[in-house]
Symmetry: C2
Subunit: 374 residues, 2 copies
Amino acid sequence: MSDTGAAKRPPTIDDVLRLRAAEPLPSSDGEPVEGVSRDGVSRDGAAPPRIVEIARLAGVSPITVSRALRHPEKVAEAKRRKILEIVERTGYATNPHARALRSGQSTIVAAFVSNLQSQQFCLAVQGCGEVLEPQGYQLMIGQTSYSYAKETTMIQSLREMRPAAVMFTGVIEIEENRRALRALGIPIMETWAYPRDPIDMLVGFSNIDSGRLAAEHFAERGYRRVGFIGRRSGRGALRLTGFREGARAAGLDIVAELSVEGVSSMVDGRRALGDLLSRNADVEAVFCANDLLATGALLEARRLGMRLPDDIAILGFGHNDVAEELPPGLTTIGIDSRDLGRQAGAMILQRMRGEMPAEPTRAVELTLARRGSS
Amino acid sequence: MSDTGAAKRPPTIDDVLRLRAAEPLPSSDGEPVEGVSRDGVSRDGAAPPRIVEIARLAGVSPITVSRALRHPEKVAEAKRRKILEIVERTGYATNPHARALRSGQSTIVAAFVSNLQSQQFCLAVQGCGEVLEPQGYQLMIGQTSYSYAKETTMIQSLREMRPAAVMFTGVIEIEENRRALRALGIPIMETWAYPRDPIDMLVGFSNIDSGRLAAEHFAERGYRRVGFIGRRSGRGALRLTGFREGARAAGLDIVAELSVEGVSSMVDGRRALGDLLSRNADVEAVFCANDLLATGALLEARRLGMRLPDDIAILGFGHNDVAEELPPGLTTIGIDSRDLGRQAGAMILQRMRGEMPAEPTRAVELTLARRGSS
DNA sequence: TTGTAGGCGTTATCAA
DNA sequence: TTGATAACGCCTACAA
């Protein structure tokens, strides 16, 4: 858009890499910093040009400049070119606040992730941004921390923020929050599950199916005595439900279901596997509801001197790429999160343009990444 | 936008099994609730209340409501209480666009990370958000992808976005970008290094020192023949510089310096260690400029049947918590990223309030997390 | 195809 | 302590 020629200049500037040598640490002996005025705000530049200034330079009225930028097809070729050239030259940028105020259209899309530390959620957000940013939208990212309270607070704050759309790496369960979101009157995107009644739009997958698939995979590999480690709430519960169904259908015997809440590191997975083994030493395969748990379980199994998958098989969820590297490689069920994000972004974009996606609900494919642990 | 074909690329997955997608209704995970109107935009609520409405209800003028919210101390106790009660009851929320337009004060703070997949950068951003969000600021997150071109583009787009402040998980090296940032006239925060001339504010650490520290640690542990694996540009180069200095000072012998650019997974670290060992089988300890490389190196060493730290010692950078779990535990130099973020947030806040931090440059402490790999 | 008029919702400024 | 007035910068509606 207004990425002037400057933006595309030599990409790899290793010689400009004059990363001015670092000082020995203590902050007391810092060097003076130039270019900052006493009130703390640097002032090298003049005020940015406004639309009237561009209009004056182009010899047209402000509204014509606005149109040249917003609806180019409505402005005569010659005028448009002249205007755009001046915009380029002066570095004019529309004031987004004035625009949003007058038009009621913000360029901000809010994205809420359950946890910023999750590779998969970040990938989804990145995918979404890849689609929206080239169209002039900005992603505002918030973290709900798997907390209903935090989620509620953030949804409240949306009223203030007035974004153009909202996306979640998850679905909203609390009815009051669902209502609050609907009341915003903007496109809402939910993901990472497949509820029957999304608030508005959805790009998701069935967590129940993922559990079934886990069971089917175990059956196919010939394991009979299986276990589950995961949360008893949210998506973990759904995966367990599917796992039970799949196990029953395939004639597997679930010898243990270990509940782990508030998973924060793979230590939880280590401990969970230890617990499980101490009670059910004969378990042959364990489905962990997420890769953090699964990775911990895998490491613990190896620490105990077990061979995978012969002594025990581990199956995770989430397509975590670190887990791929840990010998013998974690087998894991998952989705292409970045693609999910891209699809979500595309649908949001459509909706913001006033179009209605043919199908407001989409499913992404669950895949099994087969590695050595099962 | 079913850009399916192109988007599909789980490259690291050995064997991708196509599994049935969650079929629309049958295998839905959730419960049914009411629907959404057919044009796709939900309309439960009326337009949000405006300041005049609150003023009317309170029997005061709009400006008094504004003051009650913005400068409570300037409004009489009784009136203020009444106004706030009405605000609460009606769910009134200031329109941020109108506010920003009139006052010139945005509530958006832009945060740019080199890579959203990095745990440490995300932690820093989280820390910053923890400080800013309670004060009513919102973090807008962007990713520069370690690309100068992308960085330049994003800095250009700041002109349009008009945030209240900007933070980077890194320092800006290109002079033109530095100028562009200064011209914004807003607080600029750089991090993750310790340059002599930050643009505006800095919470950082010396990457050179981190290299020195690595060498000193090796010396203290009695290793003599040491190696380095890392980037030759950016922070990697600085860490190498320090490592060389420290090695010289301590009388260590750097038998190998392996350059690895564009590190994207721990596979790069695996390969790098393999290369290094094939050329310098006698190396006793290796400093890897980041934990992704170090983790790969650690795994490779174990795959080769080497005992750590006896056959070879590995030292990383970044305090990655996954690497802590990999036996025998990766020793790593690093900082408290979340704390860095918090400090940065606090300084940004101060500056946005028009105060001048006593010291615009701060150093955070480098620490060594001693585990089993060295 | 272009321009005029006016207002989006808030807050700075000045006056009472 | 409170209010009247105007303006922030842009874009919708309507007119030419």
